[in-house]
């Protein structure tokens, strides 16, 4: 005790601790013999001791030797004085805890016996064999405390851990001492027994116990088990740890991640120590061949075969026979670990990664058959979604394949072999619809590619660059793509998706100024028929991308091959070829159509060869566009033959398994697939164009001259899948060529588009869709395009003349003209405010006699000479206006004063007006077209042209066409009649004075008969209004309603703008009374009211007379006009109140 105090006085910390420990240790000693009454007290004291020791350890101080002994004494006396069965679990647990903390420090100084005793104590507690062989099984917490104590006894210390006052390499020497001690003949059984106990406790469901057991196991195997002893425990350890790693013992799905990692570490230790290259070489189980001398010795039999009976007990000799047996078993065990690559925790995956790397690095000679398996682990791990895992896996690869590693050659060979195997397996897997396997195989290839791609660029790694060399070989001219390509293409069977999802209609998206990038359009996906799951499809496309990005320029050969195959027809294999080419190119160009957002363009250096290649590709695609779709019909008979060729090639080229699989799954016969897939072909061509744009970025702009038309043409396709893809393409190109919006892009390059369109409207080459493209173009670009599109419109009409029998073309062209007119309309409304309405002449004489007086006064005056120059008024037939105009220009201009045109009232026609004039003058011939739809369209066209055109341009044409227009009023189709009425309405409201006589002489009688007819027709119409003496239909969307409306509006315009003849006005007043009926559609009532008000301005008396008489307010002579069936009082009231 005195010595203790002396010791304590040297170190102030120890002194404090001693003071703290003394009141604990003394009572423990007093109660060393446990009785049921003293147990709670001891337990309390022990926990105080543990706490005190823990606090001391946390303070970073070291226990002195004497203090350790002082503390150990009461503990040991407890163990001594009591039989183990009488020590309760609780006491033992706390005792072991205290002991563990003590041993942590005691390690540095204790003697071997104590070490061995504590070791045995812990081992027996864990194993439940303390006492005389039949102790009771301790609970998990106690076992855990024992394992912890063992851990503090066994774990390695580094020189940093060395307590002050001891020599620096003390840690090393102590460890060697312990190891030597443990490997003595007497101690080996104890180690073995402890290992066994630990293996048992490692299976415990108690997680902390499991964890610490595995830790101890690892260190025990790594350091303390003798070299020749490890092979004996290999099978047991591997089998237990495999079980633990796979979580077979527990009932939950996955084992805990840390546990997996620890168990793998144990397994790794036992494998490396038992069948590692080094130890097996040493014992002659395998021989390595490094130089020629080794090779010479190769034939000799091994010099020494250690007989197993020469060895001490428990030891196993490493013979080649033993090695073969163990490795094959081990391979099976490793194989069972495969599910771990999909373990959900990072810790487990990292553990697996380290495991695979270590095993690969240390057992290249002894365990060659497991190399592919372990490499595939690593490859799968490098595909992991966890960045840390994939990064670690890649680092493992770079370590394994680093030039310093002697066995990297065999690893590289294995890698290449894996890639080849997987590629050749893919067709079979795809056709057998094994999605998971496809996923796996594609993932492996992808990982290999990424490996070579990512690492060879950063540090020039010989091994990895040879991997990429292998990929180059595969994709290059000597890679035999003609063989594996075909078999792959034969099974890649694409179908267009069942639905194409679009957030908004295509045209709307294109038109609307959606500056918010929220609704970026993504490419609609193609779907693989044979691959159901999305992940497998994604893995396939990632694989191709990785192949592309890993390979250098030699892979252009593969791309070229795919593309040339793709453009040989529109078969499904051609489509597949295009798909493959697209994905490869994505990889080469390091872009992706699937991902949103643009890759940082500055990050990549320009690759001229690639750009050149892509440029040529884009141009070829654009050129082949027209051929492809023209030949569509021609190719059909040839297709089946080509298809058959493909099939023979598959059967020859691939494994015979294919045949059996086809028996199982006769998919080819069950659903007859279409021989050609022009749709998908087109879609994938668009993909390729987008990728080209992505690679070329701003340098893509010159290619727009070729590319724009195919895209626009697809955009107007009636198939929404294509049009969506085209829209996405347009967006993609817009993004990559740095335009703000697709509309901007088109605006900037409308000359290219116009050029392309106009070439496809020529006599030699007519593309029906071109008209739609033109319509889109006109809508988007507006007046700019109109000014230049004069010749295109002319072409339209030329084609109309030639193809007027074909409604499709005519309609398309008329649509274009309509768009042109809309644009002009917009322009005109902007440029010139609406001219004042021509003063209705008929009004003045009735309201005042002033003009008459004026006329009387001036009637003798000489007539005024009209000397105004009307400027370059047309002097020839209207249809050929351009020629005479040019002549006048040429002849007149040098002579006339330049100010001449300004003097005229009519401004010279703007280019747009000239164009409209041309349109009008040429379209009137189609008023007699056989198709009613076209007749109606032309009439609508004319009516929309009316407000735009100057009178001088419009009226002659109308005059010429007037008989035809009138004829249309008696057209069989009601919608033509209603369109005609609309035209007349438009004419009446815009050029009223011109229409005056025509309306009253020609139109009004026809209107009258139409009204009568409609009256009759309405009676039979299902949509007609019900109710007493109703007029018109319920809906505003019937032709009769529109016709009524047009008639009413025409009459309003006529009454306002045209001189009215009295007899006609009376008829009008009578005819339209019925529209004042309250049962009539409100819109018509409104117009009718307006009409009567308008008439009332001219001839109030007539209106008053007719209306009041009809409503029955008048008596006498006018009674005959009374119509009781009409309830017109309200409207009459409105009208009469106006005056």
């Amino acid at each position: 005790m005195a010595s203790c105090e002396r010791m304590a006085s040297t170190a102030p910390d120890s002194q404090d601790l001693f003071r703290k420990l003394k009141p604990i240790c003394v009572p423990i000693l007093e109660n060393a013999l446990l009785t049921p009454s003293s147990i709670p007290n001891v337990s309390k004291l022990l926990s105080q001791l543990v706490q005190a020791l823990q606090e001391f350890r946390e303070s970073g101080s070291y226990l002195t030797q004497s203090l350790i002994s002082y503390t150990f004494f009461p503990l040991s006396s407890i163990l001594r004085r009591n039989s183990s069965s009488s020590i309760p679990d609780q006491i033992l647990e706390q005792l072991l805890n205290a002991l563990g903390i003590l041993c942590d420090q005691w390690w540095w100084s204790c003697d071997m016996t104590t070490w061995g005793q504590v070791f045995m104590l812990c081992g027996s507690v864990i194993g439940g064999i303390e006492g005389k062989g039949k102790g009771k099984d301790r609970d998990d917490e106690t076992k855990e405390a024992a394992a912890r104590c063992l851990w503090s006894l066994l774990r390695e210390r580094t020189s940093q851990d060395t307590p002050p006052g001891l020599h620096g390499d003390r840690a090393q020497t102590r460890l060697v001492e312990f190891c030597t001690h443990s490997q003595t003949e007497q101690f080996i059984p104890i180690v073995g027994q402890t290992l066994n106990s630990l293996l048992g406790s490692a299976l415990s469901p108690h997680l902390p116990l499991q964890r610490i057991s595995l830790q101890v196991l690892r260190v025990l195997i790594a350091l303390y088990a003798p070299e020749s002893f490890v092979p004996s425990i290999l099978p047991g350890v591997v089998s237990i740890t495999t079980k633990i790693a796979l979580g077979i013992s527990g009932n939950k799905g996955w084992a805990n991640g840390a546990i997996v990692a620890l168990s793998l570490a144990v397994m790794q230790q036992v494998i490396v120590r038992s069948i590692g290259d080094d130890v097996c070489l040493k014992e002659g189980a395998v021989r390595s061949v490094v130089d020629l001398e080794d090779f010479a010795q190769f034939v000799k039999p091994p010099e020494m075969e250690i007989k197993s009976d020469e060895l001490p007990r428990y030891f196993t000799a490493r013979t080649s026979t033993w090695l073969r047996a163990s490795t094959s078993q081990l391979h099976i065990a490793l194989n069972t670990l495969t599910p771990l690559v999909t373990h959900p925790t990072i810790a487990a995956l990292l553990g697996l990664c380290a495991f695979a790397e270590t095993i690969l690095a240390s057992t290249s000679l002894t365990l060659p058959q497991s190399q592919p398996l372990l490499l595939s682990f690593l490859l799968s791990l490098s595909n992991s979604p966890f960045p840390k895992v994939s990064q670690t896996a890649q680092e493992s690869f770079s370590n394994l394949l680093s030039p310093t590693n002697s066995n990297r050659h065999s690893l590289i060979q294995t890698l290449l072999h894996i890639s080849k195997e997987n590629i050749s397996a893919l067709p079979r897997l795809i056709s057998s619809q094994a999605d998971a396997k496809v996923d796996h195989a594609a993932g492996q290839i992808e990982a290999i590619c990424r490996l070579s791609g990512s690492l060879s660029s950063t540090h020039k790694n010989v091994g990895l660059s040879s991997v990429s060399g292998g990929i180059d070989l595969l994709l290059g001219p000597t890679g035999g793509i003609e063989k594996w390509g075909w078999s792959l293409l034969a099974v890649l069977d694409f179908v267009s998706p069942a639905i194409a999802i679009s957030k908004a209609p295509v045209a709307q998206l294109l038109l609307e100024d959606n500056s918010d990038g929220a609704n970026r359009i993504s490419f609609p996906e193609v779907t693989l028929k044979n691959v159901q799951s999305r992940s497998a499809y994604a893995a396939l496309s990632r694989m191709f991308r990785a192949l592309g990005s890993a390979s250098s320029e030699s892979s252009f050969y593969a791309v070229e091959w795919f593309i040339s195959t793709g453009y040989k027809g529109h078969t499904s294999s051609a489509v597949a070829a295009l798909w493959c080419a697209a994905r490869l190119l994505e990889g080469i160009g390091n872009i992706s159509l699937d991902h949103e957002g643009i890759a940082d363009p500055s990050s990549q250096p320009r690759r001229k060869a690639l750009e050149k290649f892509v440029r040529g590709l884009a141009r070829d695609i654009a050129e082949s566009w027209d051929d492809g779709h023209d030949e569509q019909s021609d190719n059909v008979p040839e297709e089946p033959k080509v298809d058959n060729d493909l099939h023979t090639e598959i059967i020859k080229g691939v494994n015979p398994i294919h045949a059996t699989l086809q028996l199982i799954k006769p998919h080819s016969s069950s659903t007859p697939k279409p021989t050609t897939q022009p749709l998908l072909h087109q879609v994938l061509s668009l993909h390729l164009l987008s990728i080209s744009a992505g690679i070329l970025q701003a340098r893509f702009t010159p290619l727009l001259i070729h590319v724009l038309y195919p895209i626009l043409r697809s955009l107007v396709s009636p198939v929404s899948y294509i049009s969506l893809t085209a829209l996405a393409t347009l967006n993609f190109i817009t993004d990559y060529t740095s335009y703000a919006s697709p509309a901007n892009l088109l605006l900037s390059h409308f000359d290219y588009a116009l050029d392309a369109v106009s070439r496809r409207l020529t006599h030699r080459w007519l593309d029906i869709e071109a008209t739609k493209v033109l319509a889109v173009l006109v809508r988007l670009v507006g007046s700019d395009v109109v000014q230049k599109a004069g010749d295109v419109v002319e072409e339209c009409f030329d084609r109309l003349d030639e193809f007027h029998g074909y409604e499709v073309i005519v309609e398309g062209l008329v649509e274009v003209l309509g768009e042109v007119l809309k644009v002009i309309e917009m322009d005109e409304t902007l440029s010139q405010p609406t001219q004042g309405k021509p003063q209705p002449e008929g009004v003045i004489p009735t309201s005042s006699l002033q003009p008459l007086f004026e006329w009387v006064a001036h009637r003798k005056d000489p007539p005024e000479v009209d000397d105004t120059d009307y400027g370059p008024a047309p002097r020839g037939p209207w249809g050929e206006n351009t020629v005479p105009e040019d002549e006048t220009k040429e002849e007149d201009q040098p002579i006339n004063a330049p100010s001449q045109p300004e003097a005229s009232d009519d401004p010279p026609p703007t280019p747009t007006q000239a164009l409209t004039k041309q349109i009008v003058s040429r379209s009137i011939y189609f008023l007699t077209h056989g198709s009613a739809v076209i007749r109606a369209r032309i009439l609508m066209l004319l009516s929309s042209a009316t407000p735009v055109l100057p009178e001088s341009a419009l009226l002659p044409s109308i005059h010429q066409a007037w008989p035809f227009i009138l004829k249309r009023l008696s057209d069989k189709e009601p919608f033509v009649v209603s369109a005609t009425a609309t035209l007349i309405e438009s004419l009446a409201s815009h050029v009223g004075d011109f229409m005056g006589r025509r309306i009253w002489d020609d139109v009004w009688p026809r209107f009258q008969s139409i009204l009568k007819q409609l009256d009759k027709a309405d009676a039979q119409n299902a949509l007609a209004r019900r109710g007493r003496s109703a007029v018109g239909t319920e809906s505003a969307y019937t032709h009769s309603h529109r016709l009524y409306r047009s008639i009413l509006k025409t009459m309003i315009a006529a009454v306002n703008g045209v001189h009215i003849q009295d007899n006609a006005i009376w008829q009008v007043i009578l005819a339209f009374r019925r529209f004042l009926h309250s049962q009539v559609h409100e819109e018509l009532q409104g117009y009718a009211t307006e009409l009567y008000i308008s008439i009332g301005r001219n001839n109030w008396d007539a209106v008053w007379l007719a209306l009041t008489a009809t409503s029955g307010r008048l008596e006498g002579e006018m009674v005959f006009m009374k119509e009781e069936i009409w309830d017109i009082d309200r409207n009459v009231g409105v009208i009469l109140s106006r005056e």
Binding site: K612, I705, S738, L747, H763
Partner: protein, 422 residues
């Protein structure tokens, strides 16, 4: 004919003009297309982007001719002016990458006017430029870089030859001598030929046997209002100013057309010339053998009858095998120059086709010549870029271009087959 594929449709249409297009020419490296119209507008179009590099009102009246000459552009207008402009160089890469390389980009540059020459443009006759080789004028120790032939300032039936850039009249009133010799009253014979419709100034090839004394002999081929063609050669001392056509001798004279000659083209090697007129005839003049002793003029100058009357323009391809004739019906007809066998008809223009031009067949060689003129460093980068932008295949295709300009103020670009293997 049956073996030939159907004639193509135009590969591009250019809408840069608003008035009838009169004149067309390619730059030597095929990079630029020059076009001029009746309003005096000249447009330089890049043959890569097919967009205007420059578009400016060069003359107040219609164009008669435009041509690139080294770093200059020569334009000839009906406003009695010849302007020499500094050429605008826009590097193709810059043109395409330029932000907003747009169809409707305002603010295109206008070339700077270097100097002008007053000429007589009453007779619609285009100038004829003869660039002198560098070596040549270095030896002669003059600063004359080119000779230019234009109609005489006073009398449209005579020709003048001026030097550039000095704008000195070297030879005046060529053709006056022989006419005034015959008639004393200053009328008559000259009127028989009428005004000059087209002319071509060239030198004989050094290896021709006809000119043994001097290596190069200046010659002037003129086509006249009466349908005749006269070749004159200069026999006087070099660089000596002449007046009244002294020193110029008529080598031969041939009248094949019944109408006035509308256009004349001389092959690039100056071995033969072709003329067209309002009639259906095409005259072919062998410039080497004609006038040689032992060769009758009828053999050397032949008339060929085509099926269509009314031709407005003619152009001969660089290799001298194919010629294109633009007709008043708007069609461009291709003929073999040897046999005048029709090779095809290009139909696009609806109104008269007033100008046709072939692209240079061998632009690369011309380019070498160019690069010696310009500074070297820029050329190199330019080359790299151009290789980058255009593949050789495209260059070759561009070499097969034919451009036609019509009264409809549009240019149509056609890619022809080479007509080589037949």
């Amino acid at each position: 004919m049956a073996s030939l594929p159907p004639p193509p449709s135009p590969v591009h249409l250019l809408r840069s003009h608003f008035s009838p297009v009169n004149v067309l020419s390619f730059s030597n490296d095929n990079e630029r297309l020059y076009s001029g119209d009746t309003s005096g507008l000249v447009v330089i179009t890049s043959t890569r982007s097919l967009r205007a590099i420059a578009s400016w009102k060069a003359h107040s009246d219609g164009l008669l001719g435009v041509e690139e000459w080294d770093a200059h552009i020569i334009t000839h207008g009906r406003d009695n002016k010849i302007h020499v402009w500094a050429r605008i160089d826009e590097f193709p890469a810059a043109a395409s990458i330029r932000l907003g390389g747009s169809a409707s980009l305002p603010g295109l540059p206008t070339p700077n006017l270097r100097y002008s020459l007053d000429v007589n443009a009453l007779n619609y006759c285009r100038f004829s430029l003869l660039p002198l080789l560098q070596a040549e004028h270095a030896i002669q120790n003059t600063d004359t870089e080119a000779l230019i032939a234009v109609p005489n300032l006073v009398e449209s039936s005579l020709a003048d030859v001026w030097t550039l850039p000095a704008c000195q009249r070297l030879h005046a009133a060529i053709g006056k001598q022989e006419s005034s010799d015959t008639e004393s009253d200053g009328r008559g014979n000259r009127q028989a030929e009428g005004i000059i419709m087209s002319m071509h100034l060239f030198t004989t090839l050094p290896d021709t046997a006809s000119s043994s004394s001097s290596p190069r002999e200046l010659r002037l081929l003129c086509a006249y209002e009466n349908g005749g063609v006269i070749l004159r050669r200069y026999t006087g001392p070099e660089n000596k100013k002449t007046i009244e056509g002294i020193g110029w001798q008529v080598a031969w004279s041939s009248t094949l057309h019944v109408e006035s000659v509308m256009a004349m083209a001389v092959s690039r090697a100056c071995t033969f010339a072709l003329t067209v007129s309002a009639d259906h005839l095409v005259g072919r003049y062998d410039l080497i053998s004609a006038g040689l002793p032992g060769v009758s003029l009828e053999d050397a100058c032949k008339v060929y009858r085509t099926k269509k009357p009314g031709n407005a323009a003619i152009a001969i391809r660089d290799d001298g095998k194919v010629c294109a004739i633009g007709g008043w019906d708007g069609k461009v007809r291709l003929y073999s120059t040897k046999t005048m066998k029709p090779l095809g008809t290009l139909e696009y223009h609806k109104q008269s086709c007033q100008a046709v031009a072939f692209a240079r067949s061998t632009p690369s060689m011309e380019k070498e010549h160019d690069s010696t003129v310009q500074s070297g460093l820029l050329e190199v980068t330019d080359d790299e870029e151009s290789d980058d932008e255009m593949s050789e295949e495209e260059m070759r295709k561009r070499g097969l271009w034919l451009v036609a300009g019509g009264k409809d103020s549009r240019l149509s670009v056609w890619t022809l087959m080479s007509f080589d293997k037949r």
